[in-house]
C-alpha cells in the first residue's frame, strides 16, 4: 500500500515536471481553430477601433516594439523589441530613435526598411498623400512633430515635448507597421505584413485564415502551421462549438460570467480565465445644457450609484470598482483604495450617499413632489442596455425618473458627438493602460471623444505635467490626483470596470490573456498545441 502511495506521489510530482518540460519544448504544427464573435469590417488594424480586427490580424504584423506576449500585465517594463532592434531616448526626451532589424521581409518578399516606418506614421498623422478611410487614433501622435529616417535601418520620432508614454502607444496591438508599397485599400482586404502568419483569405461572415510565415525573421517561430477563425455571431452556437471540441479556443475575453459556468460544467477540462479588459461602464452627462449644467445635480447623480449592485447583478461579483484608470491589481495607475473611497459616492454607506444626493436635488429644486424626468440614452446592445436599466432604477431614489432611450448602433456615436443627449450610459475601452491615452482622449477640451463637453483648463495642465514626467512614482501620484479630481467633478462617473472570460482546450499552450488591455496580446507566435 505504501509503495502504491509512493508511486502516486511520485507521479504527482512528475506532473508539473512534465508540464515544465512540455512548456520548454513547444511542439510544431497544427492549426489553431478559434471562433470569431463577428465579421470585422476590414482587415486594416489602423482603420479599426475594435479588437474584432486586432485578434485575427495582429498575427499578420509586427510593431516597432510590443508588449511581451507572455506577460499578462502591459507596462513599460514589459515592452520588448519587435521590428526594432533597440531604442534610445535623447537626453531632452524629445527624440526617440529606433535601430531596425535587418533582413526582414514583407510577406510579398519586398524588404522592410525605415521608409515603411515613416510611411506608416506619416499616414497616421495625416501627413501623407495616401489616406486612411478613417483614422481613429490620429490623436495618439499629437506630440509627434515628425518621423525621420537615417539610412534604411534607423527611424526617429521627433516630439514637440517629452512624452515617455509614446513607447506604450507604439507597443499596442493597434500600432503595427504597414508596408509603403501597399495601398490602404489593399490593406483593408489583403493585408501584407512581416508577422508570424501570412494572410490567406477573409470571407466576410464566414472565416479568416492565416498560414505560417516560413520566413519569419524570429527564428523558430511561429510554432503553429496556421490559425483559422470561424465567424459565429450566435454566441450559443459558438460556445457549443467550443464545448464539442470544434474549436481550440473561444474568442478572447468574450465569454460572459454566466456562460463561463456553462462552459466549465460541459467542458470541465477547458482552461478558463476571467480577467479585466480595461473597459469601463460610465455615465455621460451633458454638462453644457440644463438640467445637468448644475453641478449639484451631477454630484447627486454620482452619489446615487450603488456600484456593488451593478457588479453583483451583471457579473456575479466579478468586476471592479475604480476611477478612470483601471483598478489594481490589473491596472497600473489606479488610485489607492483609501483615496478612492474618499471620493463622494465611493464610500461604503450607500444610504448615507443617497441621503446626501437627495439634499443636493432638493437644493436644485427637485423633490418627491417635483421629480426630474430625463431620458437615459444608450446603445441598443445588451452590455449597454442592461446597466442602463439598473441605473434608471437607482436614480429613482433621488427624485430622477429616467426613461430608457435605446439608440441604434449606427446612430449612437453620431448622437453623442452632436451632444444630442442629456444623460447616457456608455462604455469606454482603453487600448493601453496609460493615462496619456485615457486622459487626452476622454477628458481634454475639444477632444472628439470627450462626449460630455467636460473642460477644465487647470486639469489639462496636470495632464501635460504627468505626460512629461519620467519618474513613474511621481507620475503615478499626479495621475491619482487627476483621476480623483475627474471623479469629484463628475466629468464622466465611472460605474465599474468589467471582467470577462476566455477559455481554451488544455492542449493549447502559450496563451496569455492580458490583464489591463484587450487589444495587445494576439501575436500568437509562441502559441503551440500539445497534441
Amino acid at each position: 500500500m505504501r509503495s502504491v502511495s509512493a508511486l502516486a506521489a511520485a507521479a504527482l510530482l512528475l506532473l508539473p515536471a512534465y508540464d515544465v518540460a512540455s512548456a520548454a519544448e513547444p511542439k510544431k504544427g497544427g492549426i489553431l481553430r478559434v471562433y470569431h464573435r463577428d465579421s470585422p469590417g476590414s482587415a486594416s488594424i489602423h482603420e479599426g477601433a475594435t479588437y474584432s480586427i486586432n485578434v485575427p490580424f495582429m498575427p499578420v504584423f509586427n510593431n516597432l516594439v510590443m508588449f511581451k506576449q507572455d506577460v499578462a500585465q502591459n507596462s513599460m517594463e514589459s515592452i520588448v523589441p519587435d521590428l526594432a532592434e533597440s531604442w534610445a531616448w535623447s537626453a531632452d526626451g524629445k527624440k526617440l530613435t529606433f535601430k531596425l532589424k535587418q533582413g526582414v521581409n514583407w510577406h510579398d518578399g519586398k524588404p522592410f526598411t525605415s521608409a515603411d516606418v515613416k510611411c506608416t506614421f506619416d499616414m497616421l498623422m495625416g501627413k501623407s498623400q495616401q489616406k486612411f478611410r478613417q483614422n481613429p487614433r490620429k490623436s495618439w501622435y499629437d506630440q509627434v512633430n515628425d518621423v525621420t529616417t537615417s539610412g534604411d535601418f534607423e527611424a526617429s520620432f521627433e516630439l514637440k515635448r517629452p512624452q515617455p508614454a509614446l513607447l506604450t502607444l507604439l507597443a499596442s496591438g493597434y500600432t503595427p507597421v504597414y508596408p509603403c508599397h501597399v495601398s490602404p485599400g489593399d490593406m483593408r482586404t489583403k493585408p501584407i505584413g512581416t508577422g508570424p502568419f501570412k494572410f490567406v483569405e477573409f470571407k466576410a461572415n464566414e472565416s479568416i485564415k492565416l498560414t505560417k510565415n516560413p520566413d519569419y525573421f524570429k527564428k523558430g517561430l511561429p510554432h503553429l502551421d496556421g490559425i483559422e477563425f470561424t465567424i459565429i455571431t450566435n454566441r450559443s452556437t459558438a460556445i457549443l462549438g467550443f464545448v464539442s471540441g470544434k474549436f481550440d479556443m473561444t474568442f478572447p475575453t468574450e465569454v460572459s460570467i454566466p456562460l463561463l459556468k456553462d462552459v466549465k460544467s460541459q467542458a470541465p477540462n477547458a482552461v478558463c480565465v476571467v480577467e479585466p479588459v480595461n473597459v469601463s461602464t460610465n455615465i455621460i452627462v451633458n454638462s453644457s445644457s440644463p438640467p445637468f449644467d448644475n453641478i449639484d445635480i451631477r454630484r447627486a447623480l454620482a452619489l446615487s450609484l450603488d456600484r456593488k449592485a451593478f457588479i453583483s447583478i451583471m457579473f456575479e461579483g466579478q468586476a471592479d470598482i475604480g476611477g478612470t484608470m483601471l483598478p489594481a491589481p490589473g491596472g497600473l495607475w489606479a488610485m489607492p483604495k483609501e483615496m478612492l473611497e474618499s471620493i463622494p459616492g465611493y464610500g461604503p454607506d450607500i444610504n448615507a450617499n443617497r441621503e446626501e444626493a437627495r439634499k443636493l436635488m432638493q437644493k436644485a429644486g427637485y423633490g418627491p413632489e417635483k421629480r426630474l424626468a430625463v431620458k437615459v440614452a444608450t446603445r441598443n446592445i445588451p452590455i449597454y442596455r442592461d446597466p442602463a436599466v439598473i441605473l434608471i432604477d437607482q436614480i429613482k431614489g433621488i427624485y430622477i425618473d429616467g426613461e430608457l432611450d435605446v439608440v441604434d448602433t449606427a446612430q449612437w456615436f453620431p448622437k453623442v458627438a452632436r451632444k444630442d443627449y442629456s444623460l447616457g450610459l456608455n462604455l469606454t475601452g482603453n487600448a493601453v493602460d496609460d493615462p496619456d491615452q485615457s486622459f487626452y482622449e476622454n477628458y481634454s477640451c475639444g477632444s472628439e471623444r470627450n462626449y460630455t463637453n467636460y473642460c477644465n483648463r487647470e486639469i489639462e495642465k496636470l495632464f501635460d505635467e504627468q505626460s512629461v514626467e519620467k519618474d513613474v512614482s511621481k507620475r503615478k501620484k499626479l495621475v491619482w490626483e487627476i483621476d480623483k479630481k475627474l471623479q469629484e467633478d463628475v466629468a464622466r462617473p465611472i460605474i465599474f470596470h468589467s471582467r470577462t472570460g476566455s477559455c481554451w482546450q488544455p492542449y493549447v499552450k502559450g496563451i496569455t490573456i492580458m490583464v489591463n488591455s484587450s487589444y495587445n496580446g494576439y501575436r500568437y507566435e509562441d502559441v503551440w498545441m500539445d497534441k
Binding site: 469590417g41 477601433a49 478611410r133 452556437t237 464539442s244 460541459q266
Partner: protein, 315 residues
Amino acid sequence: MFAYIVRRLVLMFVTLVGISIIIFVLLRVVPGNIVDILFDAAGFVDPTDKANLEKELGLNLPIYVQYLHWIGGLLQGDLGYSYVSEKPALQEILPRIPITARLAALALLFSASIGIPLGVISAVHQGSRLDYALRVVSLSGLSLPSFWLGLLILMASVSLFGAMPIYNPNPQTWTEAFAIYCVPAMAVGFRSAALTMRITRSSMLEILRQDYIRTARAKGASEASVNYRHALKNAILPVITVIGIEAAFLIGGLIVTETVFNIPGVARFLVEALRWRDYPIVQNLVMLIAVVVVVANFTVDMLYAAIDPRIRYTD
C-alpha cells in the same frame, strides 16, 4: 394561355421595378449609413473624413442618381461593390446562393415529403389516437420557433454525440453532409411541414366527404387508391398554394437557421449586410429574393393548370 403568360410576365416586371424602388428608398430612409457605422466603431466622427468617405462611396449623390446608377449597372450585370469587403457584390453573393438554395430545397422537400403523407394519414384516421398525436406534432411545429428548435438540436447533438454540425464547405462523409444540410433543413422545414400537414388534412377531409369518393369505394377501389389517386389528387391544389407561399416565407426562417447553424448562406449574409448598411449587397439580395418569390408564384399558377385539367387560363 400564351396571352396570359405574357401578361403575367409584364406584371412580374412591373412588380420587380416597384420592389426595386421601394427597397432603394426604404434603405435610405432608415437612419444611418455605412459611413455612420464605420465611424461609430471608431467612437467619434471626423466630419471631413466622413464627407470624403461618403463622396468615395457615392452616398453624397441625389437619391435618384444613385438609383439610376444601380439599375443601370444591374441591367449590364454589374451589381456594384460591397461597401464592407470592397469586393464586387456579384462575387460576394454568387457563392452563397447554392448554399441557401440547397438548404431551401431540402427544407421544402422535407416539408412536402413529411407534411403531405402525414396530413393524408391524419385525415383518413380522423378522430383516432393517431390523428390526435399527429395534430399535436403539427401544432408543435407551428408554435416552436425555428431558432429555438435549432438550438435544441445543437445542444442535443453536443450532449448525446459530443459533436455538432458546423458548416464545412467540403464534407468528408455522407453523415457529415447529412448533418450539415439535412439537420438545419429539418429545423427550418418543420414549421412548413406542420402547416402543409394541416392544410392537407383539412383539404383531404373535405374531399373525402364528396360523392365521387363514395362512388369510388362502391366500385370496389382499394382504400389506398381512394385516398391517394382520387382524394389526394383533388386535395393537392391548396397544398401547392401553401407550399408556394411557404417558399417565399422560407427566407425568414433561413435567416435564423443559418445564424444558429452558422451556415454562410444568402439569408445570414443579408442580415449582416443590413447591419452594416451595405446597400449594394442588401439591394441586390432583396431583388434576388423578390425574383425568386415572383417566379415561385408564377410557377405555382402554372402548376395549377398542369395538375388540374379543369383550370384553363384565358384572356
